[in-house]
Structure formats: structure tokens, C-alpha cells
Symmetry: C2
Subunit: 302 residues, 2 copies
């Protein structure tokens, strides 16, 4: 169990440095985070993009590999080719439009998707809470169906197991604990549990629906008289939809002063897709999360 997002640094240093293709690297803050990750020895970056602009953000003497490609589509394709050839073990988004990068990821000819669905998994730790929480999906999937949610769960479980969780506890988030026909998230929760009654979950526990308090507070669980292995002890929170997941992630970072990291799962390699609003720290930790998960993801895939 990961206690703090900061612990990713120690874990990352225990693995072999990973090659990372940065698509459209010509961004001051992206380069800053990549350089920090390279300095601590956990990634070997390949910076793809506008050579002149990239070099303007780098010190005069550096040993970073740069691939000059000023066309966004072609820069994204170059990264996919590197993954397919084994040259890149992680992909990171730079100053390229997210849509352009993801279009390349799912391209049927040269894309790198290896699951039916790509999803974002964020992890957050708090100044005053005993463990890291995995939140999915507050960044990619807008209104996932029950089938989508099952894939989102399995992507998050794959990530958690890749970074060392033996049996992560998945809690299905709603506003209430009772199934109510008028609250879609509870109906979905019931359908997901029904699915796992017929298809035993492999390497994780799952329960729901729960409001947030009954996933993170033993006191609330006792108050409510709830039972089971997930109540009060969840590791992975499955959110009803993009809005609710995003509210959780942003509230955690901007009001709860949490530390966060995030990656996209569902492709052959982890994809680091930070946003401008992420701090340099959050960008670095997202790279570290990709590094730590990459080895485990390969292991569980094969």
C-alpha cells in the first residue's frame, strides 16, 4: 500500500531507467519535469518536436536525444513507432493537442492501444490521511456505460497491481449507499456487482455503491452500520462520470492540498498526459508513476 505520492520516487529508483518519448516537447514546464526525472536517473527522454524551440529550453551542453519533427501528427506517429519498435517504454504528452495524440494512440495501423478502452487513473495523497487513493476516471471518459466502467476498473486495478498492490479494494462511488432507480450511479453499481458475481474478480475486491465518507472513514462506516472488505478501506474509487471524478481530483489537489499524479492506461505503455495547470511536482510524479507502473504493466500483460 502506497502511503504518499512522494513514495513513488523511491520505487522508481529501484527500477531500470525507462526510455520515454515526449511528443512536442517544446514546453518550458514539460522539459523542466522531464529533466528532473532524467537527473534522478529514472527516465531516458527522447524529445520529439521543433528542434530549435526544444533547444531554446535546454542548457547548451546536454546529452538528451532530440528528434526534429515540427508536424504534430507526424510527431505523434514517431512516438507510436518508437513504442512499436521497443525504442520507447513510456509516452508523454508535450505541447500537442490531446486529441491529436490520442488519435495516434488509437490509430489502427500504427497505434498502440491494447485494451478496448483507454482511461485515466489519478492517484492522490493527503497531508492528513493514511493512504494514497486511486481515482478513475476524472479526465477522459465522459459518461461511461456499465461495460465501460468494468474496463475502467480493470485498467485501474492493473495499475495498482503494477505498482505493488496485491489485492486492491475498489469502491464504486455514488451519493448514497442504497440502490435507487432514480440515481443512475447506484443502478450502475448494482449492475457492476452483478457482473462480478458471474465473473469472479481477479486480484481485487469490489463493493458499492458508497458515498465518499463510507469509502474513506471507518467512523462513518460504523455510524452507518455498513460491512464488507471495501467500506472505509477503499484504494480505488470508481466515479460515476467525468464530472464527479474531476470534482474529486481537483478538490483533493486544490482544497485538500493533496499531492497527485496521473497516467493513461489501456495502451501498450503508460501515457503521461499532464495539463498546464499541474504543478511541476505533479508532472514529475506522473512521470514517476509511469516509470513504476511500466515494469509491472509489462509483467501482467505477458
Amino acid at each position: 500500500m502506497l502511503k504518499r505520492v512522494q513514495d513513488l520516487e523511491k520505487l522508481a529508483k529501484q527500477t531500470k531507467a525507462k526510455t520515454m518519448a515526449v511528443v512536442f516537447a517544446q514546453d518550458e514546464f514539460v522539459i523542466e519535469a522531464v529533466m528532473r526525472a532524467a537527473e534522478i536517473g529514472v527516465v531516458k527522454p527522447i524529445l520529439i518536436g521543433d528542434l530549435e524551440k526544444i533547444e531554446s529550453y535546454l542548457p547548451k551542453h546536454h546529452d538528451l536525444k532530440i528528434v526534429n519533427q515540427a508536424e504534430p501528427d507526424l510527431a505523434a506517429k514517431a512516438a507510436m513507432d518508437m513504442v512499436n519498435s521497443g525504442e520507447a517504454e513510456i509516452v508523454m504528452k508535450g505541447l500537442i493537442d490531446t486529441k491529436v495524440l490520442l488519435k495516434a494512440v488509437v490509430n489502427k495501423e500504427y497505434g498502440i492501444r491494447n485494451q478496448k478502452l483507454l482511461s485515466h487513473v489519478g492517484i492522490v495523497s493527503y497531508p492528513d490521511f493514511d493512504r494514497v487513493l486511486f481515482a478513475t476516471d476524472g479526465a477522459m471518459n465522459i459518461e461511461p456505460s456499465v461495460e465501460d466502467k468494468i474496463l475502467i476498473i480493470e485498467n485501474a486495478v492493473k495499475l495498482a497491481r503494477a505498482i505493488g498492490y496485491i489485492e486492491p479494494k475498489v469502491g464504486i462511488v455514488s451519493a448514497v449507499e442504497k440502490v435507487n432507480d432514480k440515481i443512475l450511479s447506484t443502478v450502475h453499481a448494482q449492475a457492476i456487482l452483478d457482473y462480478y458475481k458471474n465473473n469472479e474478480p481477479k486480484g481485487f475486491l469490489i463493493d458499492g455503491p458508497f458515498a465518499i465518507d463510507n469509502l474513506v472513514s471507518q467512523e462513518s462506516v460504523i455510524h452507518k452500520g455498513l460491512e464488507g472488505p471495501v467500506a472505509g478501506k477503499a484504494d480505488i474509487l470508481l466515479f460515476p462520470n467525468l464530472d464527479a471524478g474531476n470534482v474529486f481530483y481537483k478538490t483533493s489537489v486544490f482544497l485538500a492540498r493533496g499531492l497527485s499524479a496521473g497516467v493513461i492506461i489501456g495502451a501498450k505503455v503508460p501515457i503521461v498526459l499532464t495539463s498546464r495547470a499541474d504543478s511541476a511536482e505533479a508532472k514529475l510524479y506522473s512521470i514517476l508513476l509511469a516509470v513504476v507502473s511500466q515494469h509491472g504493466l509489462l509483467a501482467t500483460d505477458n
Copy 2:
């Protein structure tokens, strides 16, 4: 502007003590909160319910008014009658099913609803944030329509103005800042803004859609290049639906260690509707919020 939920105590003490009908008061924690509020002199409670049970939670010598009524429907009706006669200025839910109480509130003969829609407004303050945030609606309205959301906004504005905000800033919450046909919360945000183009907002400012960071963090607003009077400075957060609002409220309390209070607005008097999971502190602050708002709500109604 309220900096901390704790500041409600000082404000409440400045007003005349309010009579408060507690429906089915036979609950240890409800009585504890009511007694504390009575001790600091801000409410005069009328405890409605099972006399014997109520007295079992009270000291032998007390001067609290008790109305013996062991039937839930009739206990709720008794409270409504007290509001209609002017005997009660606040209603508080005790050990009664929320549905039974609300059925009485909206009853056409003796009910006390005075707006088309009842909604919950929570307020939260954080250990490390400069102001209180109003969150609506994370407790009552499941999937509000655009029309419902306009009423929810106006209920929250009424509350904020009643406790002293001259021109509260309302931010419409989503996961993103751009209107996207696939994200209903952004489509609703646009429709709400369009409505207020034709119906000038009275005594408040409104803008959206915004993700949480761009409602509470000036740094994020600058990063994103956003403008306007609400970005980064919101007082009232309008959530897309029950799930998202509930996630915000619970994350604020249980992970961000926020202090909270909440009331239902849309009836002739504020309704205090705390849940078992609320701490004694949260229950007390909800009573104080009702006390402080009650005077102002009357003023704005007339």
C-alpha cells in the same frame, strides 16, 4: 464574506434567539447539538416526539418545551403548524425519515414550501483556504434540469445574501471550461448563462462552466488565461448533479478536513437536516447557519 464556518457562532449570537421545532427529537446526538445551541442562547427548542424517550436523553431538571407526539406524520404536521402560526422560526429533523418530513413540508394544506423547489445548501471552510464555499446541491436534487438549476442558484443566493453577502459569485461547476455537446453540465451552464442574459441576475454574479481549480485557484486561472469576476473567486458552487455535489461535500469534510454546515432552503423557514454521519460540531453549525440565515431570509422575502 465568511472566512470560516466557526464565524457563524459570532453572527448567531448577534441575532435574537430563534424558536426551533425539532421533529422526532428522540436522538442522543440531535439533542446534544440542540442543547449546545440552546446553551449559547441562539435557539429556543421545541422538542416534538416520544416524550419518554426524549426525557431519557435530557437532564432531570431542564426548561425545554416538549410536545408529546409519537406518530411521525403527526409530529411533522405539528412542526408545520408551528411554523404557520409563527410559533417556530426554524425546523430541524430528528430521528424521522427524511421523506416523511419533506412530505409534510410540501403538503398543500399545511405545508410550508414557499418556493417551487427545495434545495440543500452546504457551506464548507478549510484549514488552508481563505473563505467559505457554498456547495449546492449535494443532498436533495438528483438530476436537476436547467430550470431546476436556476431555482437552486436562487435559493443559494438567497442564503448567502441572508448571511451578509452583498453580491455572491456563483460558479457553475463542470469538468472543463469549454462548452462541449457531449458534456451535459457544460450545455446546462451555457443555457443558464443565456437565461441570465435575458433576466439580469439580482444581487449576484454568475459564470461558467469551470472545473473546480478555476473556481478556487487564482494560479490556475492565470495558467488557463481565464477572465471574469467569478474565475478563481467563486463563493457559491453549483454542481452538475447530486453525485458531483455529494463528492465535493464529502471530500471536503473527510479528506480536506473541512468544517461544514448545511440547511434546506425554499420553505418559509430554514430546515436543518443533518445526517447521522455528521459530527456534533457539524450539527451545531447547521443550527447556527439556520439561525443566522433565518432573519435575513425573512428580510429578503418581505
